[in-house]
Symmetry: C2
Subunit: 508 residues, 2 copies
């Protein structure tokens, strides 16, 4: 499967790297490697000249070195969910290394959280800057003692890519607390409206009841989420997570409502009417719960593509309907872009595919951003008093600097448009495989959504295990889905390797 022409906008690092990056590359072994010739099947320029031409599989994985190291690690760290021990110093671009000299094409990318390649030289320069050193060693309590350059770090980084209509951010640490702080903002907003506005003081009863975890101070309200959704694993976020029992068992939860998510039938073009009906029913379920649930929802939280739950898509029309419903009932719409955000769907934010009339009220992010938080636009979503939305660190300037460098790489290499194109190429390739091997690549989904592609496999766990033996690291989700989560620097020649590997897996 040949890439037919060089992508004209892809400028290899060797040509355009600023001097600071070039000087760092000069002393990094991975960067001084001779530029690899384009693979025989592709004439495109590689983003990472030092990347290998193909995966290297030297041992069964884990190999002997890894096995010894895993045994040592298990003394102090739970390794039962360990997938592969990595050597990050030897990883490069799209390739993850292990201690045994194996080098796999990584289309799982730390559960969808590495955007611009392992040991990206521009990020490396940022990591070794004095500004980074100061952020790491003088870590501020941002709410009390922000640094004089915090506004500039936000404006040139996190906020530069804020979703349309949302010009504010509350920074957090990871996806779970990003969602939970967004939920808190939603609860405070709702109660403020019920009280009659930002200037109405809390009642004595609210003050005292809040301290004993009772209404009205601790209100009987809820966040509405969808079946098969994943929004995190802390107590509030876990109450909205509905993907798998293993995430939820034995943990107390709020009695919050869950709505039906439209589980579409594939191929989409063969089920147009049925899918439209499924989506209408799901919207009706949302409206029913908003209007009748004993704990009234003050927000609906939704993933643009349910990821952990199985890569479940819905149409832009569904999300426009959801926006209309939430507006109608004065319920906030929180879009959880923790996994879908930062380019992988071929738009910077996946909800840009929906063409909404009004933006979501809040958009949460983490993973590929390497820092976390929620965006918002309505100034009323800033709580009416200080210290209501607050904690010691309130985010992390070090990772905010990394996100800024990621954004610069995305812009420099036009990686969002690139990902849209390479995603189309990859999708077509899998479509061909699905025709050749019916029953092995089922319910292919993610067309027009960049590289955010998944399919169901009849022997999924075996598929993922075999993938390593043919040189690729792939992840799963839901009960039977293979989810592809390449980095934004994934190119056509990588797609060719991946497609060949997947064919080998199903043929074996």
């Amino acid at each position: 499967m040949a890439s037919l022409r060089a992508a004209t906008r892809l400028r290899p690092l060797a040509v355009n790297a600023p001097r600071s990056i070039q000087s760092i590359r000069a002393r990094r072994p991975y960067a001084v490697a001779a530029a690899v010739k384009p693979t025989s099947s592709s004439s495109e320029q590689p983003f990472f000249p030092g990347e290998p031409k193909a995966p290297v599989v030297k041992t069964a994985i884990p190999g002997p070195q890894s096995q010894a190291a895993i045994k040592e690690l298990d003394n102090v760290f739970d390794t039962r969910s360990l997938n592969m021990l990595a050597n990050y110093q030897k990883s490069i671009g799209n390739y993850i290394a292990d201690p045994d000299g194996n080098l796999l094409l990584d289309v799982y990318a730390q559960i969808a959280s590495i955007p611009v390649g392992y040991n990206n030289p521009a990020l490396h320069a940022t990591a070794l800057s004095e500004q980074m050193a100061s952020a790491l060693i003088n870590r501020p309590a941002l709410g009390n003692f922000p640094s004089h350059d915090w506004a500039s770090i936000l404006e040139t980084g996190v906020l530069k890519v804020a979703p349309k209509g949302l010009n504010q951010v509350f920074t957090a640490m990871a996806g779970s607390d990003a969602n939970e702080t967004a939920y808190k903002a939603a609860f405070m907003y709702r109660r403020q409206q019920e009280r009659g506005g930002a200037n109405v003081e809390f009642s004595a009863e609210e003050l005292s009841s809040s301290m004993v975890n009772q209404a009205p101070g601790a209100p009987e309200l809820s966040i509405l989420s969808f079946k098969t959704a994943f929004h995190g694993r802390l107590f509030g976020s876990l109450s909205t997570t509905r993907s798998k029992p293993i995430h939820k068992l034995d943990i107390p939860a709020f009695n919050w409502p869950q709505a039906t998510f439209p589980l579409l039938k594939y191929p989409l073009e063969d089920h147009v009417e049925e899918n439209a009906r499924i989506e209408q029913e799901a919207l009706a379920d949302v409206e029913r719960l908003i209007t009748t649930h004993p704990l009234p929802p003050c927000a609906v939280v939704v993933e643009p593509i349910q990821s952990e739950g199985g890569d479940n898509h819905a149409s832009p029309a569904f999300f426009r309907g959801l926006r209309a419903l939430t507006k109608k009932h004065n319920v906030l719409l929180i879009v959880d872009e923790v996994q879908t955000g930062v380019g992988a769907t071929g738009k910077f934010w996946a909800h840009e595919h929906w063409d909404l009339e009004t933006p979501p009220d809040m958009v949460t992010f983490s993973k590929k951003a390497q820092t976390a938080g929620y965006y918002f636009g309505n100034p009323e979503l800033r709580p009416n008093k200080p210290y209501r939305q607050f904690n010691t660190w309130m985010g992390d300037p070090a990772h905010a600097l990394i996100f800024r460098a990621i954004i610069q790489e995305i812009e420099r290499l036009d990686l969002v448009n690139h990902t849209a194109k390479v995603g189309d190429y990859l999708y077509s390739g899998i479509e061909s495989l699905a025709q050749k091997y019916p029953g092995e690549f089922m319910n292919l989904r993610g067309k027009g959504r960049g590289t955010f592609i998944a399919f169901d496999s009849p022997r999924r766990d075996e598929f993922l295990k075999k993938a390593k033996s043919v040189g690729v690291n792939i992840g799963g989700c839901g009960n039977s889905a293979v989810r592809l989560r390449p980095m934004l620097v994934f190119q056509k020649h990588h797609a060719d390797i991946l497609l060949d590997a997947m064919e080998k897996i199903v043929k074996s």
Copy 2:
């Protein structure tokens, strides 16, 4: 108030710094400053030779430069809880700088979270290392793809200072999720016992009910916390936080129980019998709630010194009683050392002051550790299946490397013993002030607890505000407490400056 002799164990950086640190100092402006002569009141060697001899107050705070910058920041970031805009590049050791050239002795230290001084040279070297760069730019999903050196980073860092009896760690991001993951471990442990052990499978009813947030899958159990406690602000941790309504208002909460915390009377030596009775009553309240609350507690969480709630102490006998009670009723004891941990009380962990017969079941940490998590010892506290205690990042190797460097600094300079001594010196000084200005320094507390010292002020907010005008940055807690949270590199000559400043405040 003179420091009477040079502390013999305090070795200034200039003499003993390893070569790598010296070379970094040579190119850092703050480090090449000529060594400051010991202050006239002290012959001790300063840890930071480049520190100023005294605070510098050039303008009212915020000064004109800060005001302009705050105005800009407020466009994108809520500044209503802003205390002081900082310039961390110009901060050094115990001194925090601002954009107007002010340089304050900082005994608040980012809400008790800076341990070894601003721009500490050893931390600076760690921040600029290749290992750090890799941790920042190749951020792993630790549960799935730990790095080959993760075991070593844990063993030479986080685990090297593990509390006695606890040899395992689950790493997290900040204090709130450290506590919440500990709570989750406690719930899973309790339900496993109720099911009959780790090998008993979940029932069909548990599996299905967990997905709809109902018992038995989402059990009707609780975490018991104390009145005036603070354990974080996410939904589970906030349900155990009982310090102030502003933290809790409008946020739904679990109906979990709160026990009376023994609010002791001062001076302790005048209230021995009464305080013993208060502590007995508090323990009786704990036992009553454990045995009768409709949501049975599976763990008690407690701070060694309630910090945010007002610096409320209890005696070692109280905590030994609490350990005995929790053992008796098969309830786990979680000690929240987020604020008390890492040396400030004159022991590495504050619970070392208690002389417990058996260690706590879990100890949580964050703040001065600059990374977070919980320690545990009992292997049964590892959930019985993988992916039960899991998330994408599961901590942060970058900040774990900083903690390792902090531990090395603490060991090199013997900072825990140092803090015990300088704390005694500071405490005596405030005792003298309290005698001289009765009514201004009330309920002085923290004797024998290093620099973890607090007192009540009749005009607390005014006290804190005036402190800046005389060159010190001090924090408050509870309703009327002034809490001192110097760094571990706080020395007698800094104590002299602080004592003089506090006298100026109350005299003015």
